[in-house]
């Protein structure tokens, strides 16, 4: 089930959210301010973050902005009624929804499930913001994260570059020359078989989804989603 991070300085609020969220089957972690939230996010990945706007140490907006630099986790902001200015900024920096305090826990849970549904690509399996999803595979271009069935796949820099380029050009026949010049640079003068080796590594990393990388004999490769 999905993992949530609840960020709020008030114990009461965290407690309530945790209670409802766990009832819904989510796993919950907590942070008391933006600073702590960032730290936790660096170490772990969540499916969704619920974050208060007003917090000591580091407010929700700044934290949101910071986290977005390396994660694309959906964020629901909590703001006190009347903070119209806040709302605007919440949207501007890409939080996925916001809920006005005092909120009904039930409503919040609805939002959570809606945002998660959206994020998990229950819609058409095309790319969303900057994330590509296909079945259990998801590629977050901005965060440089590839996950398979929710589990993060560690990839080396070259693997990322090669894979990202292929995914961005999914469905197209990419020649070896094109791939090499795009990923290694037009002045690459190395061995002929280097690309093959990286395709091999990439396929290994992709596990079952290596099926998406098709060899086009005599031409190159193609990433496809059947």
């Amino acid at each position: 089930m999905s993992r949530l991070l609840v960020v709020d300085d008030e114990f009461r609020i965290r407690q309530i959210i945790r209670k409802y969220a766990e009832f819904e089957g989510y796993t919950v972690e907590e942070a008391v301010d933006g600073m702590q939230a960032i730290e936790i996010c660096r170490k772990e990945e969540f499916d969704l973050i619920i974050m208060d706007v007003m917090m000591p140490e580091l407010d929700g907006f700044s934290a949101c902005r910071e986290i977005r630099k390396f994660r694309s986790t959906p964020i629901i902001m909590l703001s006190a009624r009347g903070e119209e200015y806040d709302k605007i900024h919440g949207f501007e920096l890409g939080s996925d929804d916001y809920v006005v305090k005092p909120f009904s826990p039930k409503e919040l849970m609805m939002r959570v499930s809606a945002v998660l549904k959206r994020a998990n690509g229950n819609q058409n399996p095309e790319q969303k913001n900057d994330v590509f999803t296909y079945e259990g595979l998801s590629v977050d271009f901005s965060a440089r994260i590839v996950t398979i069935d929710g589990k993060r796949i560690g990839m080396t820099p070259k693997e990322y570059e090669l894979f990202f380029y292929m995914v961005k050009n999914k469905g197209l026949a990419l020649t070896r020359e094109k791939l090499i010049s795009e990923v290694w640079g037009y002045d690459f003068f190395g061995d002929e078989r280097t690309l093959d080796t990286h395709i091999k590594l990439l396929r290994k990393s992709l596990g079952e989804y290596s099926k998406c990388i098709v060899t086009l004999r005599g031409v190159g490769y193609r990433f496809e989603t059947v």
Copy 2:
């Protein structure tokens, strides 16, 4: 700029939304109930629909569900405070957001712009691959994929090249010399029968569509789509 459809039975509400929306530069059309909304949507396409939940004739949910059958226009639902049940269903059937009445027009506009942004971002700038189609046969040049009745045909590199060249020059009589020099290169010095063999393989791959490859005795071949 974007076109909005505002669906609400109260004139006051439509008036307010129209005023703010037009101020933001949107074009606005109105409908007074779900039935009318569906009719209008059948005829025209909008970028976003703002729809009240409680309406005479046909409520917002039913309308939403109906419209979604033939349109994927984003929908923002308006619901009266406390209609918790409504909210749930609004999300379930795929409205993109909802706003609680009484709402602040400014907030509504924020939502509108957020949803529109999301919707536009989601469009994957699908490259229009150049594809040739004839009855059940289709040739996707950029993806290097040939399908017959939806099923993919595996072809070897030479088959592809030969076939692609013939399809691109469909309807033309192609001499053996021309075909060989185009596909093999002008410096091909191989056997006379090599081309024949590849035509044979190609015809085999094409199944019923091998009828499209006509032998021009004494000359060469022609791909034709009668």
